[in-house]
Amino acid sequence: MNDNPIISWKIAGVALGLLLTLATYLVSPLGVSTQFVVTDAIVLHKVAPALAESNTYLAKYGIEQDWGVGYGWMLILGMIVGGGVTALIFRDKQPAGDKGSMPAMWTAKFGPSEGKRYAASFFGGLLLLFGARLAGGCTSGHMISGISQLAVSSMIFGVVTFAVAILVAKFIYNNQAKIS
């Protein structure tokens, strides 16, 4: 059984590098995490405008004239559509170990509780976006786009993020993970 991703890292990496170059030529580099704030701002401006206006950080995003839907927000919408359509077309080719909401190595360590996995994912997501907004970018904006522009900030982010993520992953799995 073929256990590798549908396309090799070489093809995916070259394609992503070319896409980044094209994006930088046409509009601006790739970025994702800012759009979480924009989405929050759009929703909050709708349901509780006074609250949204009162927040200095949110007030900058999702202003009423354009609802914050710009290049960046269309990009993340595209990621969901493009990822979803591709997943639908190539579902049969996706390795079994990459499917589903309960990764085998997680259940081997933490048991079959879905609640536990989703709670951990929620908490992880919370840290991801708090950290990304504090640092000013995420894997796309800092690591891929930022390092490719040789930005000092992004080099620092890349080194710190990988170092801490490796330590936390080792701590979580005590070096006992079975990657199959």
């Binding site: 991703p5 549908i6 890292w9 070489k10 093809i11 990496g13 070259v14 394609a15 030529y25 601006s28 580099p29 790739l30 704030v37 929050d40 927040n55 200095t56 950080y57 710009g70 290049y71 269309m74 990009l75 595209g78 990621m79 969901i80 559509v81 990822g83 979803g84 591709t86 170990g97 309960m102 990764p103 190595m105 989703y118 951990a120 994912s121 929620f122 908490f123 992880g124 997501g125 919370l126 991801l128 976006l129 708090f130 950290g131 907004r133 504090l134 640092a135 891929i144 490719s148 522009q149 040789l150 930005a151 000092v152 900030s153 710190v160 993520a165 490796i166 936390v168 992953a169 993970a177």
Partner: protein, 176 residues
Amino acid sequence: MMTLIIGFLIGCVFGAILFLGGASSYRKILGTLLLKDMTIIKLMMTAIGVGTLGIYLLDQGGLAHMSIKPAYVWGIVAGGAIFGTGWAISGYCPGTCLVGTAEGKFDAIATLIGGLVGALIFAWAFPMVDALLLQNASFGKITIQGLLGINGLYLAVPFSLAMLFAAFFLLKDRYE
């Protein structure tokens, strides 16, 4: 309007690459963080290698719309550490959780909702964080070649080659 359509199309290709390359897989991400399955780090280094060369070649013709993020050291170190912890726990990053959500993975949806909450918490923590971490040791939008005082391409070429060399020849999967 054209910019919105371009953004959407670039996003579509981005999402497709992440799915097809296995980046929306918990197993693949944790495999890289446990230094056992190097697929994802090799993918990233290849993308950076090609991207650096592409962007700085564009830049020679004045065609690159660059966006350098400011180097406020403490905020980036603290943010990177918090981000790295969340990355190892959820197995997703902000971009791949979007793709996982589109695949119908419930853990990715939980990460996405957690992310929206995390961004909201940051919005309210911003005034305090700003004074504490963003104003000190802030060096602005600096680049490595700017510090060295050389043309970006002279650094981009060797850096790009080093990234590609590491991805293609140095990094090896390590299974027990």
